[in-house]
Amino acid sequence: MKKIILLLLLLSLSFSSCEKDDICDATTATTPKLIIEFYDILNPTVLKKVTNLAVKEVGSTSVLGFISESKIQLPLKTNEDLTKYGLILNSTDATIDNEDFLQFNYTRQSIFVSRACGYKTIFTLDPTTPYIKNETSTPDGYWIQNITVKTSNITTENETHIKIYF
């Protein structure tokens, strides 16, 4: 009988692997952002850095700033099937700044992550019109020359989804 008790004690000890699962870990892959890479239009295999790029949602005042990057991450709206951004190149210089509008069209899917994180959204870019490029009301020409969709399934941030040539 002592052996039984000992055995049960050991068994119960093996259960004691308590883990915290109340806080969503920052390393958990949740809703991915849209990953955009910039390439040189004259040399389409070479990455090119954007200078003082300001990105803001049309109608919004908060700005995402990129001083000198060839790869940027933009969040997509998780409660609408489109997100429209204005991308302003050389935003710090009023004489040469240039704004182009980019609207991304997609469908959304909710994927279960965990108790602490809840669900995440993954996106699929619309197969026919994944994006719409627009000019501002005062035309100053497009700075974005060409856009290609590399991956239309936006599920992780580990891959590039859109390539922009300028």
Binding site: M1, I4, I5, L8, L9, L11, S12, S14, F15, S16, S17, C18, E19, D21, C24, A26, T30, T31, K33, E57, S62, L64, P75, K77, T78, N79, S110, I111, F112, V113, S114, R115, A116, C117, G118, Y119, K120, T121
Partner: protein, 243 residues
């Protein structure tokens, strides 16, 4: 923290019961003792009362045991639960039935005609249930857009099941003739768990909240009635004489 303290508590309970056990050894002369055998049936008072004060919970658990030998009892619990869990990011309802069968081993040496139990036991548990996802929040590390409103779902996942083992530690005390009050704590370990697509069994009737690593805890607070079936005179124990 909450489960750590639960764990500590149960360990303390085990240790305490050893103390009690050790003390009883000293009994010198044992009068012929009548052992009663029979069936004990009852219900979990905690689940019953919680159903009244917690609007997100409805549950009942019937308990029963049958005395096989002097110390071994065949034990079982049968229950039904309907619980809505409201977490920070998820709101879901779990409905289902469970059964647990196993044994209890009484290691409490009763004095005279007392019929109490301090026991340790094991159970095999099985549950069939459904989950309904009421609403959820989308997790987004970007704070550029205001947080998306809570998504109302209502999606239902039927035909789910789980199986597990439990280690039970508890006491049962006869408070009135044939009326017992009992308390037990349980530690659960999942064996199999049929999860829904694109959701998880975060609560399982009988098993309770699931944690990472298939670990669970539970307890019950029971009142039961002992139905005596037959009696035996325990074979006169040899009095341990040191000399």
């Amino acid at each position: 923290m909450k489960h750590t303290s639960k764990f500590t508590f149960s360990i303390t309970l085990i240790l305490l019961s050893f103390l009690v056990n050790a003390q009883q050894k000293k009994t010198d002369s044992i009068p012929p003792k009548i052992e009663r055998f029979g069936i004990r049936v009852g219900a979990d008072l905690f689940k019953l009362t919680r159903s009244f004060y917690d609007k997100n919970y409805k549950g009942i658990e019937f308990v029963g045991d049958y005395r096989l030998t002097k110390n071994y009892y065949l034990a079982a619990e049968l229950g039904n639960e309907d619980k809505t869990t409201i977490d920070d990011r998820l709101n879901f309802s779990t409905k289902g039935t469970y059964i647990k069968v196993g044994f209890d081993y009484n290691f409490y040496e009763n004095w005279l005609d007392m019929r109490n139990m301090v026991f340790i036991g094991m159970r095999y548990g099985a549950s069939t249930f459904s989950q309904q996802l009421n609403s959820y929040n989308l997790y987004n590390t970007s704070t550029y857009f205001p947080e998306a409103p809570t998504v109302i779902s209502g999606e239902k996942f039927n035909g789910l099941s789980a199986q597990w083992f439990e280690v039970v530690v508890g006491i049962k005390a006869e408070v009135l003739k044939n009326i017992y009050v009992g308390f037990s704590v349980r530690m659960n370990r999942m064996i199999s768990n049929k999860k829904p697509d694109n959701f998880d069994n975060l609560y399982i009737p009988g098993f309770n909240r699931t944690y990472n690593g298939d670990f669970g805890v539970g307890f019950n607070y029971t009142v039961s009635y002992f139905l005596p079936l037959y009696k035996t005179k325990s074979s006169q124990k040899k009095v341990e004489k040191k000399k």
